[in-house]
Each structure stands twice: as C-alpha cells, then as structure tokens.
C-alpha cells in the first residue's frame, strides 16, 4: 500500500503537520504529555484537552504559539485529511492519532496499554491499513503480571516492615497517579506522601476528576511519622539525599522494566513492582492483529523483535528508527 501522505518521521505531508515532533514545528499533533512526545516551542498544537492542560502545567501557559483542543472520537477535517484522536489508555489524555486520507487509514499509537486504568481514558481499537506502534516492551521476555498482584505484594511488605517507610519510585506524570489509584482501589486509605515533584501533577489529575484520596507533602511529616507509610517519589530521588529523611526506606520502583530481577538487584531496588503503562509483548502482538493492518511501522523501543514477529506473521513491517529522543531508556515505563 502506498502511504504518500505520511512520511517516516511522522510528517503528515498534505497538511504539513508533524506528530510528536522532537524539534519545534509550525503544526504539531501531540499524543500525550510525556516529555519524549510533548515538547515546548511548537506553533500550533493539536491535542486532547487533558494533554494541553498537562503541557501547560509542565512547560508553562505559553509553551506553544496556539493550542487547538480536540476531544476524543471527534473527527477534524483539514483539507483532505481527517484527524481523529482515539484513547490510548497510557496516561490521562493520551491519544492515538487516526489519519484518513483518500480512503487510506493510518494509526499512530503514541504510547498505549490495554489494561484497565481509571486514571486514563481506556484504549479504543481503530481498524487501519497502516499501524504505527510503539515497542517499549517489544521483547517476549516482557509479560507483565496483573498490577493488582503487584500492589498486593507492596501492601504485604508495608505490613511486614512497620518501622520502615516504603518509597516508590514512579514517573511523576501518569505512573504516580496510577499507582495511587491502584493502592486506593486495593483498599489502602491512609494518607499517601508525595515528593515535591509529584504534587502539581497529582493536583491536576484531581482537578480533572480523578479521585486519589488523601495526599500529603512528604515534608509535612517527621522522619518518625513516615514509618509504615507509603511515599511516592521520582526514581531519581529515591537514591538521592532527599531519601535520607525517610526511616530505613524500602526502595521500590514501579515500572515494566522491573521484571528483570538481576537488573533490579544491580540498581539496588529492594521491591521491584512490575507495573507498566505500556503493552507487554503479547498485548502488542494482539493489538497488531486486531487492527487488521497489512503494514506495520515499529518505533520507540525494541523494534527488531517486533518487526521480526510481524514479518513472520506475513505482515509488511519496518522499524522507524525515529531519532532517539527518549529521556533515557527507562523514562516513563
């Protein structure tokens, strides 16, 4: 199938717009608020209202020349291209971009997951001819367990070590709020303490209607008061000076990368929680099959294995090798 309207750097040619461009562009379609997808300095930004709100909190009110909010499942016709944002289930406001042009349908997933998560609008499948998928966990060793089981392990550990604080390293946008929601849904109703870097984004989630229960700034509590409590912090903080104010902390990290024990061990993580906001290997393959796409482009992650698997299944598949604008391999997983 020819796809002249979409270039391999996600440039939508007929309307001269880029999806998640790593450098400032006149017209940008942004899938979600993580820094490896949403940058400041674009001219016009088209995104969901939640994503726009997140960008404004992270980068400032004037981080783009102009914002054009587009609700989910509301087709927008620009010249002969129809743009529809479909929920991606990754974080609050995260979208897949469905492009229709002269009878051809292409979907760029951004980051996505299939598991239910009440802090993000649930993933919706869009049939298409060209499916451009992320592959953060694109290796068959990534088979994520049920997040509820991981939270149960965490809560057991909290009970076992009443004299220690549990500090959970979480990416500040998305993972932190999902972690809190999972704890609440598991019946944990004590206050959850936040590292300063978490606060503004948690407030934003609450403002936008997601209940996270009682949250407190970690600085409000003394060292002794934090014993037996759960503290959420960015992964970079859990091993830094900030953590000295916690009583004998159990270092936990919530991330899909935590499935490899030897790695968790090497990085000094005592309680790895395999909780991911991305599809695992099986979900990636399931989704590719369900879209009915004959052609697959693979980006953002371990492209090789997924491309190999698609070709094995008779699909036309290519890695995109978009310029590596990740914040470091293990950013938002």
């Amino acid at each position: 199938m020819p796809t002249p309207f979409l270039d391999r750097d996600l440039h939508v040619r007929p309307i001269d717009a880029y999806i998640d461009p790593p450098v400032p562009r006149a017209r940008a379609i942004i899938t979600h608020g993580h820094a490896d997808h949403a940058r400041s300095g674009h001219g016009v930004v088209l995104a969901t209202p939640d994503t726009i709100a997140i960008m404004k909190v992270r980068y400032g009110e004037d981080c783009a020349g102009q914002f054009q909010p587009l609700e989910f499942n509301t087709p927008l016709v620009v010249d002969d291209v129809t743009i529809t944002l479909k929920p991606a289930g990754h974080i609050l406001g995260s979208a897949q971009v469905l492009l229709e042009h002269r009878g051809q349908r292409a979907v760029f997933t951004g980051d996505y997951k299939r598991l239910p998560d009440r802090t993000a609008q649930p993933f919706e499948l869009a049939a298409c001819d060209l499916f451009i998928t992320e592959a953060t966990f694109g290796l068959p060793v990534f088979q994520h367990p049920h997040p509820q089981d991981e939270v149960a392990r965490l809560l057991r550990s909290v009970v076992s070590f009443p004299d220690r604080a549990h500090v959970i390293g979480c990416y500040a946008l998305g993972k932190a709020q999902r972690m809190i929601a999972l704890l609440r849904d598991a019946g944990y109703d004590a206050p959850i303490y936040l590292h300063g870097a978490m606060i503004r984004l948690c407030e934003l989630y609450v403002e936008r209607g997601i209940d996270l229960g009682v949250l407190k700034h970690s600085l409000e509590a003394t060292k002794a008061e934090l014993a037996g409590q759960i503290v959420i912090a960015p992964p970079s903080a859990i091993k830094d000076r900030w953590s000295r104010r916690l009583p004998d902390p159990v270092l936990a990290v919530a991330s899909g990368w935590m499935s490899v024990k030897q790695r968790a061990r090497q990085s000094g993580v005592e309680l790895p929680l395999v909780i991911s906001d991305h599809c695992d290997w099986n979900e990636l393959n399931q989704t590719i099959a369900e879209t009915g796409a004959g052609k697959v482009w693979v980006t953002h992650g371990r492209e090789d294995a997924l491309v190999y698997q698609c070709r094995k299944n008779g699909l036309e598949a290519e890695p995109l090798n978009i310029q590596a604008y990740e914040e470091g391999e293990e950013g938002d997983a």
Binding site: P140, Q143, V260, K261, Q262, R265, V269, P272, A305
Partner: protein, 525 residues
C-alpha cells in the same frame, strides 16, 4: 516451592546482610524436613544436578520459543536462567509445584533424554517467580548474594548455637541435614562426626598494638614467623584420604590435586596455601588464578604449582594435640616432617630475634627486601584454641605504604550508603595527566563521609550514570599493603587493599604523587 521462591527473591533483592540472615533463619525455622535441608544444600552449593546443564535448558526453551526472539531476549536480559523464566509462554501458578525433596527425586530419577520434557512441564506449571527460582534451583547458578557461610550464620541465628560449632561438623554431614536440624532444635546431641572428615575451626590472631602490647610482653616467651601472603588452609590426612579446607570450612581439595595427591602421613595441619615453583612463593595475584575454581585448570598446575607452608599441627596421626603448648606441637610437627618426606608441604621457618627493636628491624627489612606482609608472634605456651583468643597469637603487620593521590571519580555506595558518594577512584600524576591507580570505599568516618559527599556534589564536572567525575583538586592519603604491576590499569599499577588513610583537605593536587614515585613500591613485592 512457592515458599522457597519467595525466600530466593528476598535474598536476591535485599541488600542488607542482616535481613538475608533473618529471612533464611525464618525459612529454616518454619519449613519441615527434608525440604529445608534441600534448600540449605542449594544455598550452600552442596547439591547440584549433574544432568541439568545450560544446554538442556536452552533446548527446552527453544522447543517453545522462536530462536531469533530468544537470542534477542537473552542478549537483553543477560542471564540465561532469568531469560527462560521471563520468556516461557505458558503461565501456571495455580497447582503447586512438587516439594523441593520431590524435585530432587525427579531430577535424579529422570534420564537425560526425558529431562527436557520434565523441565518443560514444571516450567508450565509454575508462576513467573517460581520459574525464576526453579531454574536457579535446577542449575545451581544462584547469583543472589548468598554464600555458604551466610547460610550457616542463619542456622546459628535460628538455633542460638555458635557458628563455629556448626562449621566444625559441617563437612561430615549429608543432605538433607536431618541430624543437624535435630541438634539445632535441641532434640539430640550434636551429630558425631568422624574427625577425619571434619573441619576444625582455626586459631586466629589479633593485631598487635605496638604502644600497649609490646611494653608488657616478654620477648623470651614468644616466637616469630613470617606472615605469609597466601590463604589459610587446613589439611586433614587420614586413612589414605586427604581433605583441604579454607578458613571458613569450605572444602577446596578438588581444585588442588597437586597438593592433596602429595601429602604423606596422617594428621591435621594448619598452614598457608601458596603457589610457586620450588617453594618460592609467587605474588598473591598468581595464587588468585587458582582460587574459586571447582577443579584445577591443567595449565595452572604447571605455571602455578601449589604448596602449603605448614605452621601448626592439630592432630598427630589420629591424636588430638591441640591442648599441648605450641613448643610441644612444633616439636611433633618437625618430627612428623622428618618421618614423612613431603614434596608439596614445607615448614614455616622460625625467625630468631632477641628483643622487640630487633624484630621491628627484621620486619621492616623483610617487607622492603622480600615483600613480607609482616610477622606473626606466638606465645610458646599457647594451646591451639579455636576462634580469636586474646593474648596468645599476634600479627604484626608491616607499616602500610602510603601515597598521596588525587580524587578523580566518585560512585554511590550500596545499602545504607546508597544516597552517598562513597566509592572513590583516585590517581597520580603521569606527566600532565592523572591516571587512576585504585579505588577505595572505607577508611573514613561517617562524619568525613558526609563532608566528602558534599564535596563531590559541589565539585562534579561530569556525570556518567551513577559515577561522577570531580574536579581534580582533593588529595587523599591512601594506605595500601602492596603494589603490583597490572596490565588492566592505564597506570600499569594495581594496589592491594587500598584504603583512605587521611583526607588531605589542605594539600594542593599538584603536590600529589607521580607514577614515578610509585615505582619504589613495585620493587618490594
């Protein structure tokens, strides 16, 4: 298996030694025989399945997983066992796996040809965490930061018995250690082990305090020997069988056939394991080539022939002589050497001296001319007392070498120190550049660590993951036992046992040592 898998995971992930001990003690306390004995055998490396080889596991997984995808995954994960556990496409965890003792039966009963099918069905039945533990159980490649000694320490913790009493009987016991647990839990006396198979805990020395001790002890009551730079071993020869144990009671005989095949006469001997031709010891580095191996490398038997320099005798033939004074034991030891001609054992010579000043001079010259680590002082009347009794044996190490080196890189520590930059790489001048000569992470107080941590953070010039490069301004006085030539370091020098002696906040970096200054230390080794 589920409980064992939980234990394994905790051991792998907790950095704290004490918590590992507690976790094992708890496990041994609550798990019934014979499973706990099997777990103990796995943790101490006493039980392996000779048919379960990595190649078989690979076959098992390749029957289920595309080889190319497996290769990419293995490349990413880096550990065969863990890759298999993670990639296995079937998920069980509902039905329990067989108990550890049943697994042992299964592995031992099953023929080589049937083994892949057995392992495959077990993996399918297991949950993800059980798969991980199962592969480690089957292959014995644990990589969880536990050694035999730590497991035995947990047994002591669980039972309130002395670690030494456990080590003493350890090598006479067999899996699943039912008689051991019976004793540990107070149901029976300590298992009676044939002394010929049993490790006898060693007598250790205390460092001498030159200011205090030398003033009050009389040189006429003491003998001196060189302190040899090898590892302490115990040789047990009885009834045609020879064993050799390390100081922690690990049986290392299999790696040293050149010694155990060449001990003539019966007895229990205490000495230093060294390598070198014709009883001329080579540097410790060379000995290291032969340590931590299950069997000897044929080439090493030629290049690094091993011998034991004997300095004490615990049993003469089958007779326990540990309660006799040192002089008496030494006489018997010399007589024993007279009766049994040896090719791989020799006697550690006595170093004659009159007074402490003279011995100090002998010690200094021995270090400078022969690289001796120091001297040992033994009370002539001392019985052989296991453990570290006070006032009987002293080690008088030579003064450490010191060098002023410049801090180059700092890295975060582990456990309690994980928020501190506590591991330091330092170097010396080579022309206008600074080349690293070593790394140290102790020798300073907690207060100094805080100051150093702050200094590192304020003087970082570049970060590489967990490592910070700092501006080359801070001088450490580094103490070390010896220096050796090394092709692995840019400086061509490797330090033995380096530690931070003092932090020279006052000293400018341009006054630190040069690589030329280091050459004198090389001559002394």
């Amino acid at each position: 298996m589920r409980r064992f898998a939980q234990l394994m995971e905790l051991l792998a992930l907790t950095p704290s030694r004490n918590r590992k001990i507690e976790a094992m003690a708890e496990y041994f306390g609550e798990t019934p025989d014979p499973d706990r004995g099997i777990a103990l055998a796995i943790l101490t490396g006493a039980l392996t399945f000779k048919n379960v080889k990595p190649a078989i596991l690979r076959d098992v997984v390749l029957a289920e997983v595309d080889p190319h995808l497996f290769a990419l995954s293995y490349d990413y994960v880096g550990d065969l066992g863990e890759t298999i556990a993670l990639i296995w496409p079937h998920h069980g965890g509902i039905e329990p796996l067989p108990s550890l003792s049943d697994l042992v039966e299964l592995f031992n009963m099953t023929s080589k040809a049937e083994l892949p099918r057995l392992i495959g069905s077990l993996l399918t039945r297991a949950s993800i965490n059980e798969r991980w533990a199962l592969v480690k159980f089957a292959t014995g490649a644990l990589r969880i930061g536990v050694n035999a000694r730590l497991a035995k320490t947990a047994l002591a913790e669980m039972s309130g018995k002395e670690l030494q009493d456990i080590e003493e009987v350890w090598n006479g016991l067999t899996v699943p250690y039912t008689s051991l647990f019976d004793w540990l839990e107070g149901r029976t006396e300590r298992p009676d082990i044939d002394h010929t198979a049993r490790f006898h805990p060693l007598m250790l020395s205390n460092p001498i305090d030159e200011e205090k001790d030398l003033k009050v002890i009389d040189p006429r009551d003491w003998v001196a020997e060189w302190k040899w730079d090898g590892i302490r071993v115990q040789i047990i020869a009885a009834k045609g069988r020879v064993s050799m144990f390390s100081r922690t009671g690990d049986d290392i005989a299999a790696a040293f056939p050149d010694i155990v095949d060449n001990v003539f006469g019966d007895g229990v001997l205490d000495g230093e394991l060294l390598v070198g031709p014709d009883f001329e010891p080579l540097p410790f580095n060379d000995l290291q080539q032969r340590l931590n191996r299950k069997v000897a490398v044929a080439k090493h038997l030629q290049t690094f022939p091993a011998f034991v320099r004997v300095y004490d005798m615990l049993f003469q033939g089958g007779t326990d002589i540990r309660s006799l004074p040192w002089t008496e034991r030494r006489e018997r030891l010399e007589a024993w050497f007279g009766d049994h001609k040896q090719t791989r054992l020799d006697l550690s010579p006595i170093v004659p001296f009159e007074g402490w000043d003279q011995l100090a001079e002998i010690r200094r010259r021995g270090a400078a001319e022969h690289g001796h680590e120091g001297v040992m002082l033994k009370l002539r009347s001392s019985p052989y007392v296991p453990g570290r009794p006070k006032g009987l044996w002293y080690k008088w190490k030579r003064d450490p070498n010191v060098v002023d080196a410049i801090l180059m890189y700092a890295q975060r520590g582990h456990g309690k120190r994980s928020s501190f930059y506590s591991d330091y790489t330092f170097g010396v001048w080579k022309g206008n550049e600074i080349v690293p000569i070593g790394k140290a992470y102790f020798g300073f107080t907690d207060e100094e660590l805080k100051q150093l941590d702050k200094w590192v953070r304020n003087n970082t010039v570049a970060s590489f993951g967990p490592v910070r490069e700092v501006s080359k301004e801070l001088v450490f006085e580094v103490a070390f036992d010896s220096a050796q030539q090394s092709g692995r370091h840019k400086s061509g020098i490797a330090l033995r046992f380096p530690r931070i002696n003092r932090i020279r906040w006052d000293k400018p970096a341009n006054e630190a040592a040069t690589l030329d200054d280091m050459q004198v230390f090389l001559g002394a080794t």
